[in-house]
């Protein structure tokens, strides 16, 4: 992959990366910081990406790492508590954006990548390094908690 290819593909993916980071971190400034970090790390390491067809999931994974690092750093400051997986009623009174942010970490990642970044089930599995079956289970659980009736197909 050349730097020009990296630039072109990054430009195309950038809005989706931002949406992902925004839902993860809950603020524009934090999301921009995380996207900046991911693109910077991507720029340093794109030459080592052996399978360019996996570019989107590769850069998404870097972004998720950046978001998780940001969340760890800001844990006290954010003071957002994940709600338990049950009861589902706890999510009902929250606006969707807030409900997503309070999903258990594993479910939140799946929902954001599948329904806001637009990754397929297989791509989500690749980005999160989990089996497709696990993605399927988690998305079903998360959709149920959020009371969202979205397609579960790949």
């Amino acid at each position: 992959m050349t730097e020009q290819e990296f630039a072109t593909r990054t430009e195309a993916l950038k809005p989706r990366l931002y949406r992902t980071a925004y839902l993860y971190l809950g603020s524009e400034a934090y999301a921009l910081d995380a996207v900046d970090e991911a693109i910077y790390l991507g720029l340093l390491h794109y030459k080592r990406l052996r399978q360019p067809e996996h570019f989107n999931t590769w850069l998404t994974r870097i972004l998720i790492n950046a978001c998780n690092a940001e969340l760890r750093r800001r844990k006290r400051e954010l003071a957002v508590e994940e709600l338990p997986e049950t009861p589902a009623e706890a999510y009902d009174n929250l606006p969707l954006k807030e409900a997503i942010r309070r999903l258990p970490h594993d479910l939140r990642a799946v929902i954001i990548l599948r329904y806001f970044q637009g990754l397929t089930l297989a791509e989500t599995a690749e980005a999160l390094e989990i089996p497709p079956g696990t993605v399927s289970t988690r998305q079903r659980k998360a959709l149920s908690l959020l009371k969202l009736e979205l397609s579960e197909e790949a």
């Binding site: 730097e3 020009q4 630039a7 072109t8 990054t10 430009e11 950038k14 809005p15 931002y18 949406r19 925004y22 839902l23 524009e28 400034a29 921009l32 910081d33 996207v35 900046d36 693109i39 910077y40 790390l41 991507g42 720029l43 340093l44 390491h45 080592r48 990406l49 052996r50 590769w58 850069l59 994974r61 870097i62 790492n65 750093r73 606006p95 969707l96 954006k97 329904y115 806001f116 390094e129 959020l146 009371k147 969202l148 009736e149 979205l150």
Partner: protein, 457 residues
């Protein structure tokens, strides 16, 4: 409103991305360029060998902090620029700030120097850059004394602020000499315009353009005159407090308290078998206030014999502390004994390396054979350190000097960060041999079961 309607509205909302996202790639390129410019360049023997300095990159996170100075409107803009510096925050809270209003315009860029925080050993210049032509500006500078000589000082440039309107800071540290009454700050500005992201880049590799500095779009020269009331601030006392750490003999020989930082000077016994790489330590005053190590410049040494290293701490100056106590909880040592290993450049085989250090790759970058080592990050808060010594030997017995090295976080094939591991790459420029002998620097960390406590004054 049902959940599906909310979902559609949220998707619509997220379609609106902030304008700043447009320049994410130019920002990444600018950051990569800064990283390259900051690679260490091996110093010719006898030039700057008399001084070494350790830096960490400042991370630009706009951490809000209590606006204790919110009743001082003129200082409000300073708060974001000192978000990571308790000492500078305290200085601002005590109105220890010299107001300067100087502005120059060149090449469509305006640079305005607005405030100074100065003491006997350090100058912090707060300034802004603005332009209608460029969306991303970055820069670097040098300082000179009034007679035009380069000042004997270390400069650090914290990362570009996330909001271009925020004040930027240059920190100028004087090691042995005091801050003079006048300094000339020459500053070059680089720009990344918004169209660059789509343009092909000639920046193809790690070593290709390393020494080249990008063309400046603007250059400035400011004469900074300091109020002598500020440049005289600071106190130094000489101490003679020997102590033993990990079987090595050390001695606290000085304590220096300035408004911007505190220095504790520690001398190492020449007979020690290991050299002190870093100390895990902190200061406490008689009121129980703790002063940690700052970001930015954290230590500097005089390079003399015996070796004296000046460790930096946040400042107790505005707390009126009567006594300071040094708490030492651990140390990282570098073996004085040299560890040379032979690397076969054809097969990648090496002599045994220190624990945790591996030769990750031998590859050609920009036509230069490049060795990349992976090593564990030390527990001193620094991500990178030197793995390979500055000299290497070829099979014909001659010695060569590495001209540069590059450091990066280690990622696995999937782009995941490998926690606690970094990489150091070194180029074997104009090297026709298939074997090389390298010095691998060996470190070991110790944590004290019982911390050492020394009352300093």
């Amino acid at each position: 409103m049902d959940r599906m309607e909310e979902y559609r509205l949220l998707l619509d909302e997220l379609e609106q991305t902030p304008p700043k996202l447009e320049s994410a790639l130019p920002r990444a390129r600018a950051r990569r360029r800064r990283r390259r410019l900051s690679r260490w360049i091996a110093a010719p023997a006898g030039s700057v060998a008399a001084m070494f300095a350790v830096f960490v990159l400042l991370v630009n996170v706009a951490t809000p902090f209590a606006m204790a100075c919110s009743n001082i409107p003129i200082l409000k803009g300073l708060t974001a620029a000192v978000a990571f510096s308790p000492s500078l925050k305290a200085a601002i809270e005590h109105e220890y700030v010299q107001r300067v209003v100087q502005s120059q315009t060149d090449g469509g860029v305006t640079m305005s120097v607005e405030y100074l925080i100065v003491d006997q050993k350090q100058v912090n210049v707060f300034f802004s850059l603005s332009s209608d032509r460029y969306s991303q500006l970055d820069g670097s500078g040098d300082v000179y004394t009034a007679d035009g000589q380069q000042a004997q000082a270390s400069l650090s440039f914290p990362q570009t602020p996330s909001d271009p309107k925020e004040l930027r800071r240059i920190s100028i540290d004087f090691q042995e000499e005091d801050v003079p009454d006048t300094l000339i700050l020459d500053y070059k500005v680089w720009a990344e315009d918004d169209t660059e992201a789509a343009a092909p880049s000639a920046d193809s590799g790690l070593w290709a353009d390393a020494p080249a500095e990008p063309d400046a779009v603007a250059t400035f020269s400011f004469t900074l005159r300091f109020d002598p009331n500020y440049t005289s601030q600071g106190s130094q006392i000489t101490l003679d407090q020997p102590f033993t750490l990990d079987g090595q003999q050390l001695k606290v020989v000085g304590l220096e308290v300035y408004p911007t930082h505190v220095r504790v000077d520690i001398q190492e016994d020449e007979a020690n078998t290991a050299q002190l790489h870093s100390l895990d330590c902190w200061l406490e005053d008689d009121k129980g206030v703790r002063y940690d190590r700052p970001r930015g410049l954290i230590a500097h040494g005089d390079g003399g014999t015996p070796r004296v290293t000046s460790y930096r701490f946040e400042s107790s100056y505005f707390e009126d502390a009567q006594h300071l106590t040094l708490h030492i909880e651990g140390a990282i040592w570098q073996d004085k004994e040299e560890h040379w290993v032979t690397v076969d450049l054809t097969t990648g085989r090496t002599d045994p390396l220190p624990d945790g250090t591996t030769l990750a790759r031998i590859e050609e970058i920009d036509g230069i054979p490049t060795l990349t080592f992976r090593a564990p990050t030390l527990a001193d808060g620094m991500v990178f350190r030197q793995v390979v010594g500055p000299i290497y030997r070829s099979p014909d017995g001659s010695e060569h000097h590495f001209s540069m090295a590059s450091h990066t976080i280690a990622l696995d094939e999937n782009g995941d960060e490998i926690e606690g591991i970094f990489e150091e790459s070194v180029p074997l420029k104009d090297y026709p041999f298939d074997q090389v002998e390298l010095e691998i620097l060996d470190y070991h960390t110790s944590t004290l079961d019982t911390p050492i406590t020394l009352t300093l004054n």
